[in-house]
Amino acid sequence: MKPDGVTGRFQRSREALAFPMIAYAAVFVGLSLLYVIGLSLMTRGEDFSAGVPYTLDNFARIASPLYLRSLLQSLRLAFFTALFCLLLGYPFAYFMAKASARARTWIMLLLIVPFWTNALIRIYGWKILFAANGPINATLMAIGLISRPLKLLYTEFAVQVGMVYAMIPFMVLPVYSAVERMDWAMVEASRDLGASPARAFLTVTLPMTLPGVLAGLVLTFIPSIGLFFLSDILGGSNTMLWGNMVHNELLKSRDLPFAAALSVVLLALTGMVILIYRRMGGRAENMVF
């Protein structure tokens, strides 16, 4: 397209329409994040404030066993969440895309209802299930597998189950849309040319659905690090996610610069993951469905 002429002028005047959105995002997203970074370099002041002198002390404080342990626990939980979501969600999305149109409508309906239902509610159901006198323990005791209730609630196991549960739609939906868009003729061609089903899957289907898988991995990994309410409800004080640390420093210790520093660490981690995602060809479009 030529940049000048009627169309060019038209296109240029049209870009002005994006100004309100960009200005809004620049202030409420860009500026606010920069402000957090600024705060992380300041010293704690009186009554929930921050001021000079500028310092790196906040980051030095993070390099202690307490915070490193929390970071490792968060990363481990997030990693296994993404992994289990992939292992459980990929086959589901794959079969779903191959189902008949009528079955697909129903499965989509059944999948979207929990997705649109508040995460707190869904987590709350697990709290009942895992309770010492809850249904899981009652069943296990009734069939005589255990004689005393297992401690399920307020363990890392409970948090892991809750996380996979809360995040799995974010894997299924992008993978599903990737499988659905895939050209099946390619798979058939590889089968006709003698590839085994496993080989056809690994060399044709998987690479073609990789954009969906990558989006799903990012969408399940990153939020898992910050889900402080999930570990509050299912993990009690035994699981301190990075999100819990930030939350506690901000609202309990009311240490603004230190909470900001903890956020900056999470932001840097997120930035790295997104950079890798972009480098591998991922796009923001694959994250909205």
Partner: protein, 289 residues
């Protein structure tokens, strides 16, 4: 494309059972006749007592529900405006060769990236960033702070949905209208906006769901008198397991199910009409893509 085997059906059914297990537990216990006011998982006959407790004004869910709905409606309306105009402005950008033009293009790209950032970074970071920014600006925490914050994360959903739709649109349609003498405003209102409308609507639905569902960001920016529904649920669920929450969850599930079923019905109805039209025109439904 090959059909699914029976095992695929079994697998999908199993995953769906797991997906609904905690939800069914919540629904079941909402009808528990056990009069215990806290965690009591012994099921004692059918009763509507928790629904009575839920709708009792003393339990106090009326105000949070009203707040959530008002915040969602306002934020979706504002984000629809910002996001749709943003998408129209940024979808097809002219190539610029001059230095100034390149800088301008770079600024627009950066602005676009910042606008979609909220769907990629953990909610807790955006929540804290908005909290400190609103404090810096001296904006009181309440309705206004909630709407301003929700707009920040609702915009990307609408922007990405609408941009996707516009990118797949034939640019010739707009050029033809221009060549035939329509003013830019006329092109916008008679060609671009009507074509983008389905995407605007589905983006708004998604943004509405996200706003109603949001807990983390609301948690950081709500005022003492303005709890949203998820914030209220969190404060009830965190300390104990009050049984009326089961009733609340059941009501919310029913509402979500009805909305999703309705929109699915609309979609499949449209699909069927489309297929009929295609068959009448002597094409097969498969030829659509």
């Amino acid at each position: 494309m090959k059909k699914n085997s029976a095992w695929a059906g079994v697998y999908m059914a199993l995953v769906l059972v797991l997906l609904y297990l905690p939800i069914l537990v919540v629904v079941l216990f909402s009808f528990n006749g056990n009069p215990g006011r806290t965690a009591n998982f012994h099921f004692e006959g059918f009763s509507l007592q928790w629904y009575r407790a839920l709708f009792d004004p003393a339990t106090g869910y009326g105000q949070p529900l009203r707040t959530s709905l008002m915040v969602a409606l306002w934020s979706v309306a504002l984000s629809a405006l910002l996001g749709s105009l943003g998408a129209i402005g940024l979808v097809r950008r002219p190539v610029r060769r001059s230095i100034l033009g390149r800088v301008g293009n770079l600024a627009l790209t950066l602005g676009e990236q910042i606008a979609v950032l909220p769907i990629m970074i953990p909610e807790i970071i955006l929540g804290i960033a908005l909290m400190v920014l609103l404090t810096l600006f001296g904006i009181p925490f309440g309705m206004l702070s909630l709407v301003l914050s929700h707009v920040a994360f609702c915009v990307p959903y609408i922007f990405i949905t609408v941009r996707g739709r516009l990118a797949s649109m034939d640019p010739g349609l707009e050029e033809a209208a221009r060549d035939l003498g329509a003013t830019p405003l006329k092109v916008l209102t008679t060609i671009t906006l009507p074509l983008a409308m389905p995407a605007v609507v589905s983006g708004c639905l998604l943004a509405f769901a996200m706003s109603m569902d949001d807990f983390v960001i609301s948690f950081f920016v709500n005022g003492p008198q303005t709890n949203t529904l998820p914030v209220k649920i969190y404060s009830s669920v965190k300390v104990g397991v009050p049984p009326h929450v089961n009733a609340l969850c059941t009501v919310m599930l029913v509402v979500v199910f009805l909305i999703v079923a309705f929109s699915q019905m609309l979609q499949s109805g449209k699909l069927r009409r489309q297929e009929r039209r295609d068959n009448r025109d002597g094409r097969t439904a498969d030829a659509q893509d």
